[in-house]
C-alpha cells in the first residue's frame, strides 16, 4: 500500500522509498509489507511501540540487514543491490553508541571521515564543519568514553553527517537527553531539513516529533497503521492501511472540554442525559464526546447557560500525537 505525501513532490525522486518491505526472524514477522516514501527536505517521523519494526526497517535501509522481500531505496538506489551507492548518500545514527577506547572526539570523527573516503583538505574541512555544527569543538580532544549522553548523541550525529549525506536515518536520537539537549537536537534537525536533507526519525517522545516532522508513520507489529502529516494524523483523516487492524477515527465524535465554576456533578448528570454518553469529570473540568457541528455546539453551550450552569470555558480538545498514537495502536507485542 502506498501513501501519498502531504506536499506536492510528484516531480522529485523520493529520497527514501520503502516498497512492500518484509523481514521475518523465524516465525516473527518484524516488518510486514511496509511501504512509504520520504521526499527531499522532508522530516519523517517513525512511531511505534518497542518491537514494532522501526529499527529493523531502518537497518535494512542503512544496508545493515536484508529484507525477505520488498525493497528499501535511497535516492532511487536499492539498499540490497547497490549498497555502496546507498552508503554514500545515507548517514545512520543508531540508538546505541559504540565507543572506541583511547580515541578522542576529533580522532573518532576523523576516522569516519577517512572511512568515507575524504582525504586532505576535504577531510579537514568536513571535520571542522561537523564539529562546528554539533558544537563539539570544545571537547575535541576529550576521550569519547567519558562523554555525557548528550555529547555522545552529538558525536553520533556528527559521525552520521561527516560525509554530508542526502539522507539521515536517526534511531531514537532524543532518548535519554535532558530538555535543553532535546531542544538543541530539535534545532539541529530542523536546520538539516532546511538544508534539503531528508530525515527519517524514530522516537518515543512524540511531542518532539510533532513539532519537527512534516509527516509521520505509525507502525505496530511490523505493519503500518497510519501515514500522513501530523495534522492529518491528529484529525484522523490520514491514509490508512488495512493490513493490520483498520481503525477508522474520522467518524468519531469530537472531544470537547468544558470548565465550570461550580455544580460540576450536576452538569455531568445533565450532559449525560442530554448526550446519552459518558462524561468525565475531573475537578471543575468536564470532558465528553460530542458528534455535532459548530452550530450544534453553540446550541449546546446556550442550553447549558440557560440552565444556569456557570460555564467559563468551552472548547474542542486538541488531540496530541500521543493521543493519536494511543488511539491507533493497540499495544500489541510480538
Amino acid at each position: 500500500m502506498n501513501f501519498s505525501p502531504s506536499k506536492n513532490h510528484s516531480t522529485s525522486r523520493p529520497a527514501i522509498e520503502f516498497d512492500q518491505l518484509v523481514r521475518t526472524f523465524g516465525k516473527t514477522v518484524a516488518v510486514n509489507k511496509v511501504s512509504f516514501k520520504v521526499y527531499p527536505g522532508e522530516v519523517f517521523g517513525f512511531i511505534g511501540p518497542n518491537g514494532a519494526g522501526k529499527t529493523t526497517s531502518m537497518k535494512i535501509l542503512s544496508t545493515l540487514d536484508t529484507p525477505d522481500s520488498g525493497s528499501a531505496k535511497v535516492d532511487g538506489f536499492c539498499s540490497v543491490n547497490d549498497p555502496e551507492r546507498v552508503r554514500r548518500r545515507l548517514g545512520y545514527m543508531p540508538d546505541g553508541f559504540g565507543a572506541y577506547s583511547n580515541v578522542t572526539c576529533e580522532e573518532y570523527l576523523d576516522f569516519f571521515a577517512r572511512s568515507y573516503g575524504l582525504r586532505g583538505k576535504d577531510r579537514i574541512s568536513s571535520l571542522r564543519n561537523v564539529m562546528g555544527f554539533t558544537q563539539l569543538d570544545q571537547i575535541a580532544q576529550k576521550p569519547i568514553t567519558g562523554l555525557s549522553k548528550g555529547m555522545k548523541q552529538r558525536l553520533c550525529l556528527g559521525r552520521a553527517l561527516i560525509h554530508n549525506p542526502k539522507v539521515l536515518v536517526l534511531d531514537e536520537p532524543a532518548a535519554g537527553l535532558d530538555p535543553r539537549a532535546r531542544i538543541e537536537l530539535r534545532e539541529m534537525i530542523t536546520a538539516l531539513a532546511d538544508d534539503g536533507k531528508s530525515l527519517l526519525i524514530s522516537s518515543h517522545i512524540l511531542t518532539e516529533l510533532a513539532e519537527m516532522c512534516d509527516r509521520v508513520a505509525i507502525i505496530e507489529q511490523g505493519g503500518l497503521l497510519a501515514v500522513g502529516s501530523v495534522e492529518e494524523i491528529l484529525s484522523g483523516e490520514q491514509h490508512q492501511t488495512t493490513e493490520i487492524g483498520s481503525v477508522d477515527v474520522s467518524t468519531e465524535a469530537g472531544q470537547l472540554v468544558m470548565q465550570v465554576v461550580r455544580d460540576g456533578a450536576a452538569v455531568k448528570l445533565w450532559l449525560e442525559e442530554k448526550l446519552a454518553a459518558p462524561v468525565r469529570l475531573s475537578g471543575n473540568n468536564l470532558q465528553f464526546a460530542f458528534a455535532g457541528s459548530l452550530e450544534e455546539q453553540s446550541v449546546l453551550l446556550r442550553e447549558l447557560i440557560e440552565n444556569g450552569f456557570a460555564v467559563i470555558s468551552f472548547a474542542n480538545k486538541q488531540r496530541s500525537l500521543e493521543d493519536a498514537f494511543l488511539h491507533v495502536t493497540k499495544g500489541r507485542v510480538q
Binding site: D82, N102, S115, L118
Partner: protein
C-alpha cells in the same frame, strides 16, 4: 575527494556553518591547521602521509600506541631483553671464546620475540575485531564506503606495524648476536622472515576466527581455543627458533633445505591469504560476491602446492611413497575445502549477476568462480581433475622419457635410498586418489542438498556442517593413518581385508604398490557407486550453470552517465548524453 564522492553529497551547507560538501570552501583550512594547538609541522606531515593509509590502520595504530597493553608489552619486552643479554653474557670473561654465544643469544632473543609475535599480537588482533562486534561499532564501520577487505587489511596492517615495532626493538640485539659470531647472516634472515610470516599467518587466523564470532558467547569460546592454539604455536615457535639457531645448514644442502622450507612457507602464506579473504567475505554484505576471491585463493594454493610437490619429488628422484602421499594429501585438502565451499547459498543476487561476463563462453568459465553450491562442486571437481591430469602427465613424461635431473646436485647426495616411479604406478595412484575424492565429495554434496531441501532455510548448509562432514570423511578414511599410525602400519604389513575399503590411503597403497588383486576389486567397488553419484551431482549442479545476467537498473545507468560526463567535462556539463557530446565535437565523422 573523487568526482563520485562529490556527486553523492548534497549541495547546500548546513545552516550556521560553512558548507559541508566535498568541494566546499577550504580557503582557510591552512589557518585551521595552524590554529590547532597540538598540530605541529611533523603532525601535519604525518597527517598528510596518513591520507594514503587505510583509515582502520590509522585508527588502530592511534589506539594501540595509546593503549596500556602496548606500553606494558613494550616495557616487558625491553626489560626481558636486557635481563637476557646480561644472563647470556654472564659466562664471558677476559679471554673467553665468545663464538658459541651468538646462536645461544639469538635463540633467546627469538624466544622473547615470540611473546608479542606469536601470542600477544594475534590475540589483540582477534580482540580488535571481536570487540567491534561486542560494542556494536562494527555496524558503523560496515556502513561506510570502505570495502570489507579494506577493513580486514587495516586491522592486519595495524598488527603488522606492531610486529615491526617490536622487531625494531630487538634489531640491535639480533645484530649484536651476529657480531658475537656463531650465527651467519642467513640464520638471521630466516629468523626475521620466519617471525614475520608466522605472525602474519596467526593474525590472519585470529581475524578470520573473530569475523565468525558474532555472539558474545562464541567470542569467549573461540578466545579460549585461540589462546590454547597460540600457546601451542608459541611452543612450535620456540622449536623453530632452536632449529634456526642450532641446526646445521651446510652450504651444499641449502638449495634442498630451501626447497623443503618452501612447502610449508607457501602453504602457510596461501592459507593466511585464504583466511584473509574468508574474513572479508564473512563481514561483507550479503548481496555481494563472497565466493570468487576465496576460490581464486584456493586455486592458487592448490596450483602452488602441486608445483612444489612436483619440484620436491623431482629433487628426490620421484619417490613413489612421497608421490602417493602428496597426491593423496592434495585430494584430502580439496575435499575439505570443497565441503566448506558447497555450504554457500544457491541464490545469486542481482548485484552479482550484473557483473557477469557477456559472452556465454566467458560466463561458463567464470561461473565456476561464482557463488553457489553446484558451481562450487563443479569448481572443486574440475580443479581436482585438472591438477591430477597435470601431475599424471608430468610423472608419465618423467618415467617414459627419462628426463635427466641432477638429483645429487640439489639434494646434496641425500637421494641414495629413494626409488623412482614408473608410468603405471603414477597413473594408477592418481586415478585411485581421484576416485576416492569423488566418492566422498559426492556423498558430502548429496547430504548438503538433502539437508537444504528438507530445511528450506535461508542458509541451506552452514559452513560448520561442511567442515564436520569433511572431518567425518577424514576420520572414516584416513583416521587409522592419522590417529593410530602403529595400528595402520601393522595392518599394512600383516594383511588387508574388506573392512579397510574406506581407508583411502590404505587401499591405494595396497592396490597400486603391492598389486594385490583384492584391493583393486575394492577400488572398483568404490568406483561404480561413484560414477552413479557423480552423474546425479552433475545433474543437480548443471542447473546453476545457466545463469542469466541481469540488466543494470535505470538509476544506476543514469548515475554512471553523470559520472562519466563529469569526468569528461567537469561539473558544468549540461544534460546532453555522452554520445550527443561526441557527435557535436566530431561532426561528420564516422564513429
Amino acid at each position: 575527494m573523487s568526482s563520485e564522492d562529490n556527486d553523492s553529497t548534497s549541495t547546500g551547507p548546513i545552516p550556521g556553518t560553512v558548507s559541508m560538501s566535498g568541494t566546499a570552501d577550504v580557503s582557510n583550512v591552512g589557518e585551521f591547521l595552524v590554529a590547532r594547538e597540538a598540530t605541529t609541522k611533523f603532525d601535519s606531515w604525518l597527517d598528510r602521509i596518513s591520507d594514503f593509509c587505510s583509515s582502520i590502520l590509522v585508527k588502530e595504530t592511534r589506539q594501540a600506541i595509546k593503549s596500556r597493553q602496548f606500553f606494558l608489552t613494550f616495557m616487558v619486552l625491553l626489560s626481558v631483553v636486557i635481563v637476557w643479554t646480561f644472563f647470556a653474557l654472564s659466562p664471558a670473561r677476559d679471554g673467553y671464546e665468545v663464538d658459541s654465544l651468538g646462536a645461544f643469544m639469538l635463540c633467546g632473543f627469538l624466544w622473547i620475540l615470540g611473546l608479542p609475535l606469536v601470542l600477544i599480537i594475534p590475540y589483540t588482533t582477534y580482540r580488535s575485531l571481536a570487540q567491534e562486534y561486542e560494542d556494536g561499532t562494527i555496524d558503523m564501520v560496515l556502513i561506510t564506503t570502505m570495502k570489507p577487505y579494506q577493513i580486514i587489511a587495516g586491522k592486519l596492517g595495524s598488527a603488522m606495524l606492531q610486529v615491526l615495532i617490536y622487531m625494531a626493538v630487538l634489531a640491535p640485539c639480533i645484530s649484536f648476536c651476529y657480531l658475537l659470531r656463531g650465527v651467519d647472516i642467513s640464520q638471521i634472515y630466516y629468523s626475521i622472515g620466519g617471525g614475520l610470516i608466522v605472525s602474519f599467518g596467526l593474525c590472519c587466523l585470529a581475524i578470520a576466527l573473530a569475523s565468525a564470532a558474532d555472539s558474545t558467547r562464541l567470542v569467549q569460546v573461540i578466545a579460549v581455543f585461540l589462546i590454547l592454539g597460540l600457546l601451542f604455536c608459541g611452543w612450535m615457535w620456540c622449536l623453530l627458533a632452536w632449529g634456526i639457531c642450532f641446526a646445521p645448514m651446510p652450504a651444499n644442502q641449502r638449495p634442498l633445505i630451501n626447497l623443503m622450507l618452501a612447502g610449508p612457507f607457501l602453504a602457510w602464506i596461501s592459507t593466511a591469504i585464504i583466511l584473509f579473504f574468508a574474513a572479508s567475505a564473512k563481514i561483507a554484505f550479503s548481496s555481494s560476491n563472497r565466493s570468487t576471491m576465496i576460490r581464486v585463493g584456493v586455486t592458487v594454493q592448490v596450483v602452488v602446492f602441486f608445483g612444489w610437490l612436483l619440484a620436491a619429488m623431482a629433487a628426490f628422484g620421484f619417490n613413489k611413497h612421497a608421490f602417493m602421499s602428496g597426491s593423496c594429501f592434495a585430494m584430502q585438502y580439496l575435499l575439505l575445502a570443497g565441503s566448506m565451499m558447497i555450504a554457500c547459498h544457491p541464490g545469486m543476487s542481482p548485484r552479482v549477476r550484473r557483473s557477469l561476463p557477456t559472452t556465454a563462453f566467458q560466463r561458463s568459465l567464470y561461473s565456476l568462480y561464482m557463488p553457489g553450491p553446484g558451481r562450487a562442486f563443479l569448481f572443486v571437481v574440475g580443479l581436482a581433475f585438472g591438477l591430477s591430469s597435470i601431475m599424471a602427465i608430468v610423472a608419465v613424461a618423467y618415467s617414459l622419457f627419462d628426463i635427466p635431473f641432477d638429483v645429487a646436485n640439489v639434494s646434496g647426495g641425500m637421494n641414495a635410498t629413494f626409488t623412482g616411479i614408473d608410468a603405471q604406478f603414477s597413473v594408477c595412484s592418481i586415478v585411485a586418489n581421484f576416485v576416492y575424492f569423488l566418492f566422498f565429495f559426492c556423498i558430502v554434496f548429496l547430504i548438503s542438498r538433502v539437508y537444504a531441501w528438507r530445511s528450506q532455510t535461508r542458509n541451506p548448509f552452514v559452513i560448520e556442517m561442511g567442515i564436520c562432514a569433511a572431518l567425518l570423511v577424514f576420520l572414516a578414511t584416513m583416521g587409522s593413518y592419522a590417529i593410530a599410525p602403529n595400528v595402520f602400519w601393522d595392518s599394512m604389513r600383516n594383511g588387508f581385508d574388506i573392512s579397510q575399503i574406506f581407508n583411502w590411503y590404505r587401499v591405494q597403497y595396497t592396490a597400486v604398490d603391492r598389486n594385490i588383486g583384492d584391493a583393486s576389486i575394492y577400488l572398483m567397488l568404490i568406483g561404480v557407486p561413484t560414477l552413479v553419484m557423480l552423474f546425479i551431482c552433475l545433474r543437480l549442479s548443471a542447473s546453476e550453470l545457466t545463469i542469466a545476467a541481469t540488466t543494470v537498473p535505470e538509476r544506476v545507468r543514469e548515475e554512471d552517465d553523470e559520472l562519466k560526463r563529469e569526468r569528461l567535462w567537469g561539473h558544468d556539463a549540461d544534460e546532453e548524453t555522452i554520445d550527443e557530446i561526441f557527435a557535436a565535437v566530431r561532426p561528420g565523422q564516422d564513429s
